[in-house]
Symmetry: C2
Subunit: 368 residues, 2 copies
């Protein structure tokens, strides 16, 4: 069993290294003042320090349910299971479906793939195209697996967003074979133009929808959730309970308090979107200027920019040179099941300053 490449890099690089690896949100955007106020409000209540229920505190589940309902996806607190980050949501589902087959996008999220391996799920990769997963390939695979893991909004790593048509087609295929969709949505709120409707909203009984506050508020609270049919939530709760009894109650109370002011949260989300859009545009421009041979699309949301060199360049081999020059990214092969080296790269653009972006891209250029 190998450790996550990204986390190994994160833990080994020094402070001087410019990191386009990882998925670190920009800490300058953390709403520290507002979280401080929320913390102060709950800090003296003994109940926030005691054990709580495994599915998560009512107040927080209600807030999350409310947001879904508002967006046209009717949801109550009984449809929500609070998890220790959406990483744990994935782990719980992988444990629930252990030893089964699962259809995934290629490229796909590294962390999910590691979890699937650890729980002995057999992954079947289907090509991800510019407007979402290849539909013929998806149906062929899903017919057997009846289980899929997709990231339809600003996918990690590819930044791909599914078209309206593909969302519709996927929901029909899932229904046709009475299978299950795991829809991972950590970046859905980080749109630069518009928010797309969740595929799960068309499949309320046949879906697990995964959300997280790690990218929209702060990662260190480690609070994410699963939205699913009430019966499914009850089944997952047994696994959740075994893993850690419940996620930190203290931070759940802080979050529930913070989320009471919906307008404030909306304003905060908009500030992230604005900041990330400027960064994404700048990153894309600098790439076009400095490394025009790196083909990519300008991201429409999320935290990543993905692309490929026109010519064959082993980006996995290149990383060693780059590390010496003190710049780092994640090579594309990490996001494929077989990990065969390719010419692709995933860049995170949210964590670096404009100066670091320009300098980092120039350093990579000097390694080519």
């Amino acid at each position: 069993m190998k450790r996550s490449f990204i986390r190994e890099i994160l833990e080994s690089i020094d402070e001087e290294t410019i990191s386009f690896a990882g998925g670190l949100p920009n800490s300058n955007l953390f709403p520290i003042q507002d979280l401080r106020n929320a913390t102060l409000k709950i800090l003296d209540n003994p109940k926030v320090y005691q054990y709580t229920i495994s599915n998560g505190i009512n107040e927080l589940r209600e807030q999350i349910a409310k947001r879904y309902t508002k967006e046209g996806f009717p949801t109550t607190k009984d449809n929500i299971l609070i998890t220790t980050g959406s990483q744990q949501a994935m782990y719980i589902l992988a444990k629930f479906f252990e030893n089964k087959e699962i259809t995934i996008e290629e490229p796909s999220y590294l962390g999910a793939m590691n979890i699937f391996r650890l729980n002995n799920l057999k992954m079947d990769g289907v090509k991800l195209e510019d407007d979402g997963i290849n539909i013929e390939g998806f149906e062929k695979s899903f017919k057997n697996s009846k289980l899929a893991y997709l990231i339809p909004d600003f996918q990690n790593p590819s930044a791909t967003t599914y078209s309206e048509e593909k969302r519709e087609e996927i929901s029909k295929i899932v229904e046709k074979y009475d299978g299950v969709l795991i829809e991972d949505s950590p970046y859905s709120e980080l749109f630069f133009e518009k928010k797309m409707a969740y595929i799960s909203a068309k499949l309320p009984k046949n879906s697990f929808h995964l959300g997280s506050f790690s990218k929209t508020l702060v990662p260190s609270y480690r609070i994410g959730w699963i939205r699913a049919d009430e019966q499914k939530i009850k089944s997952l709760m047994i696994i959740k309970e075994s893993i850690d009894l419940h996620s930190s109650g203290f931070v759940q109370y802080i979050l529930a308090e913070y989320l009471k002011d919906e307008a404030k949260y909306e304003k905060h989300l908009q500030s992230i979107r604005d900041d990330y859009k400027v960064k994404a545009d700048y990153f894309s421009e600098q790439l076009n200027l400095i490394i025009p041979e790196f083909k990519h699309q300008k991201p429409k949301g999320g935290m990543f920019l993905y692309g490929s060199f026109k010519d064959k360049i082993d980006t996995f081999a290149l990383i060693e040179k780059c590390l010496k020059k003190k710049v780092v990214y994640v090579p594309g092969n990490q996001f494929y099941i077989d990990k065969i080296p390719n010419s692709e790269i995933r860049f995170n653009y949210t964590h670096s300053s404009f100066e670091q972006i320009e300098k980092g891209i120039k350093l990579i250029k000097s390694c080519l």
Copy 2:
């Protein structure tokens, strides 16, 4: 797969019910003022909100290591893995040893048994005696399993504490067969007379020692840890990372800040010991007065009082009557692998007031 009996009860009972079930610490003893101060000190630092490393923040691991070293068990931060409660420590180990055999005490901790089942470990139960596990039975079982899960200090559920002799014998057997001991120590600090040396201290390479702040500070932070050989910690980290990337960084920073003042923490621990001792004594006295036919030993630490009716009484069947009268406990059969009804009961004495203790015991008496 069934849910934990205890957590099901905890979630179903109403506010009026007197609960001797669960393992809730007394929330009146939470050092809220000092935790508030620690929180205020870290609250404005952006780094406490960002992702952190999977094994836990250095500052907290150093504090924990220091305590071990002080007690004669040389430990560095590299021997420590921070977990989301010691429940998760157990889960990580169960995943690490999945499909293996494991020697456990009978009765044993319900939560651990559920985790072992979930990860397909084959449990072999050995009788727990007044001074620790039966040694002949332990050697016979351990010879095959080479893996044991024991709770030597104020065991849950039995309150048993291992004698010096049995600790020595067990460490010799573990060494003889070059096996591994998982030593679960959530209650070790809650002694009424003296603290015993950990068995793991005699087996630094062949042990996993599990600790938690849930019983000594507050449960809702969900912070526990595993102490082990550095190589073992590295292996476990891969699983930890898959499960939730890392435990809440925010609360780790609060804890590390709080623990800086060692004298204050010691004083706090002493206040818990004093309070729980009085409660344990009172609970035992009331039992002797009201239900003299319930045989038990006065606890010497921890959170539970365990015993058995002289005559054959099905304490599992009795619970239904008790629930109607609004009092609840955990029937002894829950702590056995086969769950065959018996005459034993586990009482938690830390969470109830003196009035509730007297009233609750009288209510149980009325159900007999």
